[in-house]
């Protein structure tokens, strides 16, 4: 039983568990306390001092976000002192915040702007810098840094180090020169940045944004000689509504299709189709590895077990840099985005009789690292750049708004064929554990000839937001012909999301603690793709939970729930690809990785 403490806040008598912060208490009682550096995903900072409150008997004000209540106290959040201090802090932050709101990507969704409005600031009390102090760094594939808009809240620093175990952002110098920047102020392109964009999601201002692809996409859409196709990933559909004032977790799939048509896309396809292909390829690959171990007697290590998923491009760059010795265990299957890209400019172009040179292949992703992935030199197996442009959820939202389209009130419409049908298994790629679950559904079916023995096909142990999950499936009692060697095996699958959790998992693997695990799923972002770096701001565990629910709910109602059931997948193999892991599949749907130096 937790120890309780009596407190009074704004005259309200209450009781809290010892150690509760003043901010947590205030939120619980719906007492509004403004914050900037505090973030529900991050360790406390106490840096900005916006959340200061008065505690009776204390000489100074205390930052509510970091002050743990350990004894009886009397707290005031609205006194004249508190208001004056907060106004001053805001004015001090605005003093060095260079740039105009009107021309900022975060206009309308900026926490600093919102606070200035809440406090009714109508002048710059301590002056305002108009000249730039620093320059914009847009050297990266995905992330643009504008340090002049930075307010030193360090959310990005904490994100990069604590959530993502990358650690390329830090605070340099001190005093008035203090600056959040990269290691040795290198251009972001020269750092170990994995392009995950989690820093963008947590930045309160426009200091961190994604590299723009909207202009290029508009240009393509306006070019009558271009055939512009777009594939849309599952996670943005569960989140784009947030940009239009809808609650998190509002599924927008079919309205978004209508919007994309209105914008002028020639074909609207579903990344879930290629997610199903990923399962077929990756699943087959894993089964081959298992055969090598159980039939040919190869060691697990030699055979490449446990197989590790490769859909998350932030994760790929991370493992290439930090654990390159494990690259042979990585599935060679491309991510759904890149499989799709390779097919658009081959299979689809042939089928439609379109010169692939005239196809512009766009993808809508919840992800900033996808912008990097599509630029990788390996991703040109169609003979062209397989995916030309990646739009994040935020970017598409901005384009829809620019086009004057009222997304929430649009009629619904379907995907186009032939690449517009995905199973529920492809859909749940959007949540952490989803790829593993999709693979489990199909592999179980292949090995046993029956559906995975879980209610509604839901492999619950793989679901949820626990940082590292190790799920044990039921023992395989009965096998389909040819898979007898799998009999009696209890399959284990490990899942991690967020790269700091991935690091934990890799260290477990290194320590030999994952001996009987067949397969490891890693997603670079917290919550998986639904928490991707291209998703709407803000982000929080609650918001991600709502998006996750939307994804699982949509899965439940789809006609096909398993990748191997998808008729288009069969058609693709029959008409074009041959068989999983076959020659053409290998050429178009698989890739290789490179060891990257950890040195910058």
């Amino acid at each position: 039983m937790a120890e309780m403490v009596n407190v009074r806040i704004n005259g309200i008598e209450t009781e809290v568990e010892k150690g509760t912060t003043i901010l947590q208490l205030a939120r619980k009682l719906n007492i509004y306390v403004p914050t900037l550096c505090a973030h529900p995903d991050l360790r406390q900072a106490g840096a900005c001092r916006m959340c200061v409150v008065e505690v009776k008997g204390m000489r100074t004000l205390q930052s509510a976000c970091s002050f743990p209540i350990t004894s009886e106290m009397d707290i005031f959040t609205t006194t004249a002192k508190v208001r004056k201090v907060r106004r001053d802090i805001l004015a001090l932050l605005l003093k060095n915040h260079v740039g105009e709101c009107q021309t900022c990507k975060r206009n309308g969704n900026c926490e600093l702007q919102r606070l200035a409005a809440e406090f009714g600031l109508h002048d710059y009390l301590y002056g305002k810098r108009t000249e730039r102090r620093y320059s914009v760094d847009d050297t990266g594939y995905a992330i643009v840094r504008d340090p002049d808009k930075c307010i030193n809240c360090k959310r990005c620093v904490r994100t990069c180090s604590d959530i993502q175990a990358v650690g390329v952002l830090g605070t340099l110098y001190r005093g008035a020169d203090t600056k959040v920047t990269t290691f040795m102020e290198k251009n972001i392109a020269e750092t170990l940045c994995v392009n995950c964009g989690q820093c963008i999601n947590r930045c309160p201002t426009g200091a961190l944004t994604e590299k723009d692809a909207t202009s290029a996409v508009w240009e393509a859409l306006e070019d009558p000689n271009k055939h512009v196709v777009i594939q849309t990933a599952p996670a943005p559909r569960a989140a784009i509504g947030e940009l239009f004032g809808l609650p998190a977790g509002t599924s927008m799939t079919k309205k978004m299709n209508t919007a994309l048509r209105l914008m002028g896309f020639d074909r609207i396809f579903d990344t879930n189709t290629s997610a199903d292909l990923t399962i077929m390829e990756e699943g087959t690959e894993l089964l081959i590895k298992l055969k090598k171990v159980y039939i040919e007697g190869m060691s697990k290590d030699e055979a490449g077990l446990p197989g590790i998923t490769s859909c998350s491009p932030g994760w790929i760059k991370w493992i290439e840099q930090f654990y390159p010795e494990y690259l042979p265990k990585l599935s060679t299957a491309k991510s759904p985005q890149q499989m799709f890209g390779a097919l658009v400019k081959t299979y689809y172009a042939q089928k439609m009789g379109i010169d692939p040179a005239n196809i512009v292949s766009v993808s809508l992703m919840p992800c900033t690292a996808k912008k990097f992935e599509c630029e990788r030199p390996e991703m040109r197996d169609s003979g062209y750049k397989d995916v030309d442009y990646v739009l994040t959820t935020r970017e598409l939202g901005a384009m829809i708004k620019e086009a004057g389209i009222d997304l929430p009130n649009l009629p619904e419409s379907e995907f186009d064929s032939p690449l517009g049908l995905g199973s529920g298994a492809g859909l749940i790629f959007g949540a952490t554990g989803g790829v593993a679950e999709a693979a489990a559904r199909t592999i179980w079916y292949i090995v046993t000839g029956e559906n995975v023995p879980m209610k509604n096909l839901e492999v619950v142990p793989l679901r949820g937001f626990e940082g590292v999950k190790i799920a044990t499936l039921p023992k395989i009692e009965k096998t389909a012909p040819g898979w007898e060697f799998m009999k009696g095996i209890v399959p284990k699958i490990a899942v991690a999301h967020g790269l700091a959790n991935a690091k934990k998992l890799m260290d477990m693997l290194k320590a030999g603690e994952l001996e009987d695990v067949f397969c490891i799923e890693v997603m670079a972002c917290p919550g998986g793709c639904l928490g991707g770096g291209g998703q709407p701001q803000p982000t929080s565990p609650e918001i991600r939970e709502a998006r996750m629910k939307a994804i699982y709910e949509e899965d439940r109602h789809l006609p096909y729930r398993q990748s191997h059931e998808n008729p288009y997948v069969h058609q693709l193999y029959e008409e074009f690809l041959g068989e999983p892991m076959g020659e053409l599949s290998h050429k178009l749907l698989h890739t290789h990785y490179c060891r990257r130096s950890r040195r910058m």
Partner: protein
């Protein structure tokens, strides 16, 4: 009249302490009324008691030898002449709180003292004043050299510096270092002078110490005197001495003002020399007294202080990082004849925000010099600027 420079046989305090229980040692220190000599004046006995009672697998004693407050140099002398007694003080503190290890965090500017301090440690080990001190009680000390950061004299910042963490970034109070300090273990951080005094108190008794000073500020204080005086240097005075008496002693009569407590202390104008006393209850100080002769431009002094803070703030919290710049801009505006009364009022308002909302003592005490110098000499400076215009 002397505590620090009293006759003393090295080892006497430690031997006495080891004959007592840790509780008795803490009680003796509490009885003496000893308060932290770094400037903040926290009761030393209480600090030790908190650390003793806190939960932790290990406890640490850290000697804060990072004296960086402008105008302070007493620890320089103490380290040069009295590191053996300092080590004794650390061992006594360790016995009192139950620590096995101690660090001396020596400021980078005093690198040249490193051989002296390390030599004293070696000698103490040989003489049995470090190492195995009693059945079941071992204590050893190592030195870590700082690298030029004023804020590391602040105990949290110092601990973070030892930990390899950028100071200011990770911790918020509470919890305090006595509960969660170095590597999150209970940690006592004491000033050089405090620890030396603790050793002497153990040797001579709390009553001997209490014969000096005032009720609330017992004992003596080492004062570093610099600026416009005939005999700058380190002086030991009893708490309660007036500024006038002090100035007389050091050949500084006729001064325009005195800055007591360094850049983060307060400025006392000549009118108050005979009424203000050096004591925690009146004008507190870590030991810095800077004297300004009649010809000095106090706005120049304030500008120098504000430049110092703009550079030495760790830059972590908003009020200190950004506030110092505004205060510096204001002083410069005054000096260039551009400031109005309104600018000064705005800056004074900002001072109260910095005092209330800064995360640590650095930002909280920047208003001390600004308000006191501006309060006594601001009008004069504004008027002069008006004349020039």
């Amino acid at each position: 009249m002397s505590v620090i420079y009293s006759d003393y046989n090295v080892g006497a305090g430690l031997s006495k302490a080891l004959e007592m229980t840790p509780e008795q040692v803490i009680e003796t220190i509490k009885e003496s009324g000893l308060r932290g000599r770094g400037g903040a004046g926290f009761p030393t006995g209480m600090k030790w008691e908190f650390a003793r009672r806190a939960e932790g697998d290990e406890r640490f004693i850290i000697c804060n030898a990072d004296e960086g407050e402008p105008g302070t140099f007493k620890d320089r002398e103490l380290l040069r002449d009295m590191t053996p007694v300092l080590l004794e003080g650390m061992a006594i503190a360790a016995w009192a709180v139950g620590a096995r290890r101690g660090f001396i965090y020596l400021r980078g500017e005093y690198r040249y003292l490193l051989p002296v301090v390390n030599g004293a440690i070696e000698e103490a080990r040989r003489a049995g004043r470090l190492g195995s001190l009693k059945d079941g009680f071992e204590f050893d000390v190592e030195v870590t050299l700082g690298a030029g950061a004023y804020v590391c004299g602040e105990e949290m910042a110092l601990i973070e510096s030892l930990e390899g963490v950028r100071s200011g970034e990770y911790r918020n109070r509470p919890p305090y270092p006595v509960e969660k300090g170095f590597i999150n273990m209970p940690t006592v951080v004491n000033n050089v002078e405090t620890l030396i005094k603790a050793a002497k108190i153990m040797a001579h008794g709390s009553g001997w110490f209490r014969q000096y000073g005032t009720e609330k500020s017992t004992g003596t204080k080492l004062i570093s005197v610099s600026g416009d005086v005939a005999q700058p240097g380190v002086y030991e005075i009893p708490f309660g001495m007036t500024i006038h008496e002090l100035l007389k002693m050091v050949g500084g009569l006729g001064a325009k003002a005195v800055q007591v407590g360094g850049a983060s202390g307060i400025c006392i104008p000549s009118e108050e020399f005979s009424t203000r006393t050096i004591a925690f209850e009146d004008v507190p100080t870590g030991g810095s007294v800077i004297v300004f002769g009649p010809g000095r431009d106090m706005m120049e002094v304030l500008e120098n202080f504000m430049e110092f803070f703009c550079d030495e703030s760790c830059g972590y919290c908003t009020p200190c990082r950004e506030g110092n710049v505004v205060l510096l801009e204001t002083v410069r505006k005054i000096r260039s004849g551009q400031a109005t009364r309104n600018d000064v009022d705005l800056a004074l308002g900002l001072c109260s925000t910095m005092r209330l909302a800064s995360k640590c003592g650095l930002g909280q005490s920047v208003p001390n010099p600004f308000e006191s110098i501006m309060g006594h000499f601001g009008d004069e400076a504004l008027a002069r600027a008006g004349e020039r215009r």
